[in-house]
């Protein structure tokens, strides 16, 4: 064993001077920590907590704003859709109306055209009839004159024979119950008869 170890005191007996030195050392550290270090750290913790909370609040506000914007956007979209549907409906109705109108117009037009055509036809017929009547009279008189051998023209014109004959023809046609011009009566032997005729007599 070394001499020093042999001299050394019991390690479990504290030394008063050391106790005082240790106390002072610890109290100095305690004072500094209490006064400066702990408040510094606490301030940093506080600031950090505030920053985090502030950040959360900001984020929440932004989220609320975004949600409001989304709701507004959706409302606008729905409105626009409704409007579009309305416009489409009204356009369809209008189109229908226009078609209807055009159809009516076309029908009127065609009716008018048909009417005019009929009128013209009637007028032409009248004209033709009138012309034919004159020519037929003349031709008939000429023919009769040739048959008789003399000119009857003046005489006939004077007496109105031809006209009378033609009028009679007209009357005959009018008295025919079928009434459709003068073409009908030729089918039967007796004009205007509606009596049943047995097959054997035909």
């Amino acid at each position: 064993m070394s001499i020093l170890a042999a001299e050394s005191p019991n390690p479990l007996i504290p030394v008063v001077g050391e106790i005082i030195i240790g106390t002072i050392a610890f109290l100095v550290l305690l004072f500094v920590v209490w006064k400066f270090v702990a408040p510094g750290f606490e301030k940093a913790f506080q600031a950090r907590r505030a920053a985090i909370e502030g950040g959360i609040e900001r984020a929440e506000a932004m989220q609320a704003e975004a949600e409001a914007a989304l709701a507004q956007y959706r409302a606008q979209l729905a409105e626009a859709r409704n409007e579009a549907a309305e416009i489409r409906d009204s356009a369809r109705a209008e189109g229908q109306q226009i078609i209807e109108q055009l159809r009516t117009q076309a029908q009127e037009e065609s009716a008018r055209i048909v009417a005019r055509g009929e009128e013209q036809l009637a007028a032409s017929r009248q004209q033709v009839v009138a012309e034919l009547r004159g020519q037929i009279g003349t031709l008939a008189v000429q023919l009769a004159g040739r048959v008789v051998g003399e000119s009857l023209a003046d005489d006939a014109r004077r007496s109105g024979t031809v006209d009378r004959f033609l009028d009679e023809l007209d009357e005959m046609a009018a008295s025919n119950p079928a009434g459709n011009g003068g073409a009908q009566p030729s089918s039967g032997a007796t004009t205007g008869s509606t009596v049943y005729v047995p097959e054997g007599n035909r």
Binding site: L4, A5, V15, G17, I21, G22, L29, V37
Partner: protein
């Protein structure tokens, strides 16, 4: 010259005295020679390298904490982060969670305790010093006595003088006959055993740790020096010295934390009405 150097001298002296064998390091390890001494009011102050180490450790941890906390910001720098982590460990882990809801005001005290012990323990493995002031019984005792005063004072302040002692002496819910046994035990436990266990646990861990380190280190030197077949065991002893250094690192943190944690539980008993 350090005490370890003396021990090393003893080991090396084996060569000149082959029959001496290995001289293990003794208690003298912890009592190096006095560098200077003075007397104030009849009290003798002998300053040796261990006390210088205590001052150094205290100064270093103080400067570190002040630098870390001086410009504490929301986004911490490296230094602030390390300081904050240690402070939060004590503040949240012990002051808030162990002492209780009323524990936060004790955070600076507990943090001082933790950092002071940690810094001084750390000297146990810092090259060139390699001995912790906490291996000198006076210093753990100082801390234990301060804790003792604090938790009793806090108990009296929070619960009142008589209720505090009454609750310790006469535990509620214990049969009256049992008080014969329980009351002396509780008094012993609260006012004598607690501070001594605090002090001795810390002291003994660091003391034993240093002894282990020195023994393996000197043993390695001896085995290398002794000049016979023992030299083959030299690497083993050297390796153990290194392994024990890492083990010491664990002890350094653990003992600082355990001391603070136990003080937290004592404060918890003082802050809240017992049981």
């Amino acid at each position: 010259m350090t005490s370890s150097a003396h021990a090393l001298g003893d080991v090396l002296a084996v060569e000149s005295d082959p029959g001496g064998g290995f001289t293990p390091p003794g208690v003298g390890e912890f009592f190096p020679e006095t560098l200077f001494g003075f007397s104030v009011l009849g009290i003798q102050f002998d300053i040796d390298r261990i006390i210088l180490a205590l001052w150094l450790a205290t100064a270093v941890i103080l400067v570190f904490l002040v630098l870390a906390a001086r410009k504490a910001e929301i986004v911490p720098g490296r230094l602030q982060f390390i300081g904050e982590s240690g402070y939060s460990l004590v503040r949240d882990g012990i002051a808030r969670d162990v002492v209780g809801p009323k524990g936060l005001p004790f955070a600076p005290f507990l943090a001082s305790l933790f950092f002071f012990i940690l810094a001084n323990n750390a000297l146990a493995i810092i090259p060139g010093i390699q001995i912790s002031p906490m291996a000198r019984f006076s210093f753990p005792l100082v801390l234990a006595l301060i804790c003792w005063v604090v938790y009793i004072a806090v108990g009296i302040k929070n619960q009142g003088l008589w209720p505090y002692f009454r609750d310790i002496m006469f535990l509620p819910g214990v049969p009256k006959a049992a008080y014969i046994l329980v009351t002396p035990l509780e008094l012993l436990q609260n006012f004598i055993v607690r501070p001594f266990t605090l002090a001795i646990r810390l002291f003994a861990n660091l003391f034993a740790g240093h002894m282990l380190l020195v023994t393996f280190a000197l043993g390695a030197v001896y085995l290398f020096q002794v000049g016979n077949f023992s030299v083959i065991f030299f690497p083993l002893s050297a390796l153990m010295a290194i392994v024990m250094t890492f083990f010491e690192l664990l002890i350094i943190f653990l003992q600082a934390y355990v001391f603070t944690m136990l003080m937290g539980t004592y404060l918890n008993g003082s802050v809240e009405a017992a049981h």
